[in-house]
C-alpha cells in the first residue's frame, strides 16, 4: 500500500496529461452526408518534433493489405468496411521510436474541413504479451480541425477537452456525455447527428478561443526521394 499510492498519483498525472487534452467521443463526429475527401492530405509529413506522418488513402491501403485488386473481390464484411471508410485515410505516425496508426475520416461543416481520428494500431502495446491492460481500453473518436496553409503546409488542431469542460462547467452547453475511468475523463455519448449540429453551432459562435488547444500538429510535407 505504501508504494501503490505514489504510483497511482504518477499514473493519474500521466493520464491527466495524456487523456485530458482532447475531446473524446463514443460515436464519430461526422455523418455519412458530411464526408469530404481532400486529396491534399495524402503524402508524407513531418511535425515540429520530428514526428513522421505518413498519410495514405484508405481505399488503396485496404485493398493492398487484403491482397485484392478490386473491391468486388472482397468478402462481405471487408466490403462493408471498405465502403464505410473508402473516403478516409490511414495515418501512420512514427514518433519517439513509437509506431501508431489511425483511421482519419475527413468531413466538411460550413466549408471547414475536419478530421475524425480513431486509433487502429499501437505496435508497442500490441507486442505486449500480458494484454490484460489493453483489454480495458476502448477506441474513441477525436475531433481535429484541419487547415491547409499551403501546398506543403497543413495544420491539425484537436478540439481541447479544457474548452469542453469550461463550457460544461459554465452551463453553456447541453450535450450527452459521461465521466468515465479512474480520472473521470469526459466522454461524449451524443449521437453523430447531435455532434455534427454542435460543431456547426460552435463554429458560428463569436468565441475567440474556440479552437485554442494544447494539441496541435503543424505539418510540413516531406518530399521523398
Amino acid at each position: 500500500m505504501k508504494t501503490l499510492k505514489p504510483r497511482l498519483l504518477i499514473l493519474a498525472l500521466g493520464f491527466l496529461l495524456l487523456n485530458s487534452c482532447v475531446v473524446k467521443s463514443l460515436f464519430p463526429f461526422y455523418t455519412i452526408n458530411s464526408i469530404y475527401f481532400e486529396k491534399k492530405f495524402i503524402g508524407t509529413w513531418e511535425d515540429a518534433e520530428n514526428g513522421k506522418w505518413k498519410v495514405l488513402p484508405f481505399q488503396e491501403t485496404f485493398l493492398k493489405e487484403s491482397k485484392k485488386k478490386n473491391p468486388s473481390e472482397l468478402g462481405k464484411d471487408d466490403l462493408e468496411m471498405y465502403n464505410k471508410y473508402k473516403n478516409g485515410y490511414i495515418v501512420y505516425l512514427e514518433k519517439d521510436s513509437t509506431k501508431t496508426s489511425f483511421l482519419a475520416m475527413p468531413f466538411k461543416i460550413n466549408n471547414q474541413l475536419f478530421l475524425d481520428f480513431t486509433p487502429i494500431e499501437d505496435k508497442e502495446s500490441d507486442e505486449l504479451k500480458n494484454d490484460l491492460y489493453k483489454m480495458h481500453l476502448i477506441e474513441t473518436h477525436t475531433l481535429a480541425k484541419f487547415g491547409i496553409t499551403s501546398e506543403n503546409e497543413i495544420s491539425i488542431k484537436w478540439f481541447s477537452s479544457k474548452k469542453l469542460e469550461q463550457l460544461l462547467n459554465e452551463d453553456k452547453i447541453k450535450i450527452k456525455h459521461e465521466e468515465v475511468g479512474f480520472m473521470e475523463t469526459i466522454l461524449l455519448t451524443a449521437s453523430s447527428e447531435e455532434l455534427e449540429k454542435f460543431i456547426k453551432k460552435y463554429m458560428d459562435s463569436n468565441d475567440q478561443d474556440k479552437w485554442k488547444t494544447d494539441v496541435e500538429a503543424k505539418l510540413r510535407r516531406v518530399h521523398e526521394k
Binding site: D171, K172, K197, F198, N206
Partner: protein, 353 residues
C-alpha cells in the same frame, strides 16, 4: 325553463387560464424531467425546456382553439385530420429552425442544438397534440355531462311541479263533487250521512297522505275506487247498476296514484243519473303479465253531455296530461262512444325497448 337553460350554458364556459395553467405546468415538469436525463436540472435545462415548450404551445393552442371548435366539433373530420397532420409537420420544422437559428439570437451565450431527429420530434409533437385533444374532449364531455345532469334535474323538477299542479286540480274537483253528495244526503236527513262522511274521510286520507308518492300498490288504488263507488251509491241509489270486476294477478303492481279516479268520476257524472232509465256503469280491471287494462263504460246521451260540457272534459284532459308524463310511450288510452255508450279503455304496459 329557458332561464335555467341559459344559466347552464353560461356555466359551461371553459376556463382557459386554469386549463392552460395546469396543462403547461405539468408539461414543463414532465419535459424538464425528460431533458435533464435523471440528473438535477441546471439553468440550461430550464432554458432549453422553456424554449422547447414555447414551440409546442403555439400548435397546441392552435389545435385547441381553432381546429377543434371550427372543424372537429362541426363534424368536418377529414379537414380536421388533414390540418392536424399539417400542423404537426409545420411546427416540427419550426422547432428545428428555432433551435438551429432563432435561439442563438435569444440566448447568444449558449450552444443549443436541435437534439432530436425529425421522427422523434414528430412523435413528441404528435403525442402532445393528440393527448391535449383528448384532454380537451374529456373536459368538454365532463362539462356536457354535468350540464345534461343539471338539465335532467331541472326537467324532473319541472315535471314534479306539473304533476303537483295536476293533482291539486283533481283534489278540489273531487271534493266539490263529494260535498255535493253529502249535502244531498243531509238535505234528505238520511241516516247514511254519517257513514258517507266517514267514507269521504277515508278517501280524503288516501288522497292527502297515501297518494303523495310516485307509485302506490294496485290493491290500495282499488280500495280507493271501491270507497268512491260506495260513496257515490249513497247519492244515486243504483247499486245494482254498477258492476265492478277485477282480475288481478299481482296486488302489489305499482301504479301512479289517483290515475283512475277521474275516469270513474266522469262516468258517474255523465252516466248515472236518477232521472234516466237504463243507466249503468261497467268497470273492469285486469292485470296479467304486467299488462294492466282498465275499462269503463257508461250510458250516454248526447243532450246530457252537451249540458255538462263545461265539466266533462276536465277529468279526461287531466288523465291525458298525467299519462304523457308518468307513462310516456307506455300507455294506450282509447275513448269511444256510440249512441248509447261512452267507453274508455286504458292499457298500461312495460316498454321492453
Amino acid at each position: 325553463m329557458k332561464n335555467s337553460n341559459s344559466k347552464l350554458v353560461k356555466g359551461n364556459n371553459h376556463n382557459a387560464l386554469i386549463f392552460n395553467g395546469i396543462l403547461w405546468c405539468c408539461s414543463f415538469i414532465l419535459l424538464l424531467f425528460i431533458f435533464s436525463e435523471d440528473s438535477n436540472p441546471k439553468k440550461i435545462d430550464f432554458i432549453y425546456t422553456s424554449s422547447f415548450l414555447a414551440t409546442i404551445i403555439i400548435p397546441v393552442l392552435f389545435n385547441l382553439y381553432i381546429l377543434i371548435p371550427f372543424f372537429l366539433k362541426r363534424e368536418r373530420y377529414l379537414l380536421f385530420v388533414m390540418l392536424f397532420i399539417i400542423t404537426i409537420i409545420v411546427f416540427t420544422q419550426i422547432n428545428i429552425w428555432f433551435f438551429s437559428y432563432i435561439i442563438d439570437y435569444i440566448f447568444p451565450d449558449y450552444y443549443f442544438i436541435s437534439y432530436h431527429s425529425n421522427t422523434k420530434l414528430i412523435t413528441i409533437f404528435s403525442i402532445f397534440l393528440v393527448s391535449t385533444t383528448l384532454i380537451k374532449l374529456s373536459e368538454d364531455w365532463f362539462y356536457f355531462n354535468r350540464t345534461e345532469n343539471q338539465q335532467l334535474k331541472a326537467e324532473n323538477q319541472y315535471i314534479q311541479n306539473q304533476l303537483s299542479s295536476l293533482r291539486s286540480q283533481i283534489n278540489p274537483h273531487f271534493l266539490f263533487n263529494s260535498l255535493n253528495v253529502i249535502y244531498a244526503l243531509a238535505l234528505e236527513n238520511k241516516k247514511e250521512t254519517t257513514k258517507a262522511i266517514v267514507q269521504l274521510s277515508d278517501i280524503l286520507r288516501y288522497v292527502i297522505y297515501d297518494s303523495n308518492t310516485e307509485r302506490v300498490s294496485l290493491k290500495n288504488e282499488i280500495i280507493l275506487l271501491n270507497n268512491y263507488i260506495e260513496f257515490q251509491k249513497f247519492r244515486h241509489r243504483v247499486s245494482d247498476k254498477i258492476k265492478f270486476t277485477c282480475e288481478i294477478s299481482d296486488e302489489n303492481y305499482q301504479i301512479y296514484p289517483m290515475l283512475l279516479l277521474p275516469l270513474i268520476e266522469n262516468s258517474f257524472k255523465h252516466g248515472i243519473k236518477g232521472d234516466i232509465e237504463n243507466t249503468f256503469i261497467n268497470l273492469n280491471i285486469t292485470l296479467n303479465n304486467n299488462e294492466f287494462i282498465f275499462f269503463i263504460e257508461n250510458n250516454y246521451t248526447e243532450n246530457l253531455l252537451n249540458t255538462t260540457k263545461e265539466y266533462s272534459g276536465l277529468g279526461i284532459e287531466n288523465i291525458q296530461k298525467n299519462l304523457k308524463i308518468v307513462y310516456p310511450n307506455q300507455h294506450i288510452l282509447k275513448i269511444t262512444k256510440n249512441d248509447t255508450k261512452f267507453m274508455v279503455s286504458l292499457k298500461l304496459f312495460t316498454n321492453e325497448n
